[in-house]
Subunit: 233 residues, 2 copies
DNA sequence: GTCTATATCTGGATAGAC
DNA sequence: GTCTATCCAGATATAGAC
């Protein structure tokens, strides 16, 4: 369990879009205009999937609600039972994904104790998660700037929270004398950048035939080389 | 000259938008509807700057040509003397920037010989360049997917070309026994990811008060730790 | 070279039948 | 709950005066 494969991870946490949409439905059941959960969830799944697919091809702004209605298999009128405006749809998707990501990441890190396994686990969990929810991660990254002021703030806060997770692990390791001293905040930033590249530049990694497990090991090794300065071999 | 400051670099290569626009004008002087260079360049500068500024706030798709005309200080009609369609404007900006970036990067790397200084110089040059042309780099990254098929191909090719620059340096160092063996392509990819973060997540670095020189040193140190496994201090 | 005015279309959003 | 039909604001692009 110290180094779970991606397949195992994917079963561990239920990451289906359906689960994500069911949460969305339950979160504001009162305000929702559709009362039947089965129907509401089924349609939310269609809408979210269609929105992610179209947006990731052409951008959220360029996606028309007519296209969305066609891809989701619902009429324009029906769509508006699930969100009040295009902007609200954007915010809904962002918020719901963030909740899932935060929850899973934190639980994964807690599963380890020592600084070294914790760091590796955090890196791996982030990559596995972004692999399982790739369309959402890409969407969240590219469309953050189109959020309203408040939602935008929350997105930045979430990004910083993720980094803090890494910062804490690094500082813990430094306090214990396991890791060498260096600016933990900056290193965490670099780690985040490498993790983001995994879902932002998918075509490149696919083209090179790099699997997610290998990428995880690569990043972890690079970071450990700096923090431990082990000699290879 | 081994480790030039950003200020020096900025003087070294002329990176003004004006220079970039003058090239644009000369490149298709025949087809251009405006014949007077002074006027054409002045207006191209206004248009490009306005387009970058607006696009980077709200996205190219969400930027209307009315806004562009207001920000650039030209009427809608006048705009269409400088490009044939909104899509073409997008392609123009992308292409012109790419040309400048490629040229500068390659000349910078050639200025050094040994693998270690070369690697450091390449990292630094990329960061300095993206600092000097920050709006363009951000724009190029975020809007690549909105390009037509051919232009999109060229953008990906340019990205790979930049990485090849790093790959070659790493392989050179490995061949000389200066760098430890490892997959050069993958490491180059990680380097690129860290370099991109500099202009993609500007708010974060600003907030932390990290200057470009410091960031360059940080990335270079991390990479060297892996390739050299030097002991600090 | 630049402007104003306008043709033409497509977008988000809603009303009301079923 | 879902659909069709429609409103109208705002988009790109162009024509023609100056």
């Amino acid at each position: 369990m110290a180094d779970p494969e991606y397949a195992a991870f994917r079963e561990l946490v239920d990451l289906s879009m359906e689960e994500l949409c069911r949460e969305q439905f339950r979160d504001d059941r009162e305000r929702a205009r559709i009362k039947n959960e089965r129907i509401a969830v089924r349609n939310l799944v269609r809408i979210f999937n269609a929105a992610l697919s179209l947006s990731n091809r052409k951008g959220f702004a360029a996606m028309s609600l007519r296209e969305l209605s066609a891809e989701a298999g619902l009429s324009m009128g029906a769509l508006y039972n699930y969100f009040a405006s295009k902007d609200q749809l954007l915010a809904m998707i962002q918020r719901q994904g963030r909740a899932v990501v935060t929850r899973v990441l934190e639980s994964q890190v807690e599963a380890e104790t020592g600084p070294r396994p914790r760091l590796r686990r955090a890196i791996q969990a982030h990559l596995f998660l972004s692999e399982a929810l790739q369309p959402w991660f890409y969407f969240a990254y590219m469309e953050t700037r189109h959020l309203g002021r408040d939602e935008h703030r929350q997105a930045m806060a979430a990004e910083l929270a993720t980094e803090t997770l890494f910062v804490d692990i690094i500082r813990q390791g430094q306090a214990q004398g396991v890791f060498l001293p260096m600016d933990a905040e900056l290193l965490a930033g670099l780690i985040k950048a490498m993790l983001q590249d995994w879902y932002l530049k998918r075509w490149k990694h696919k083209r090179r035939g790099v699997a997610v497990e290998r990428y995880a090991a690569l990043v972890a090794d690079l970071v450990e080389a700096r923090l431990l300065t082990v000699r290879p071999g």
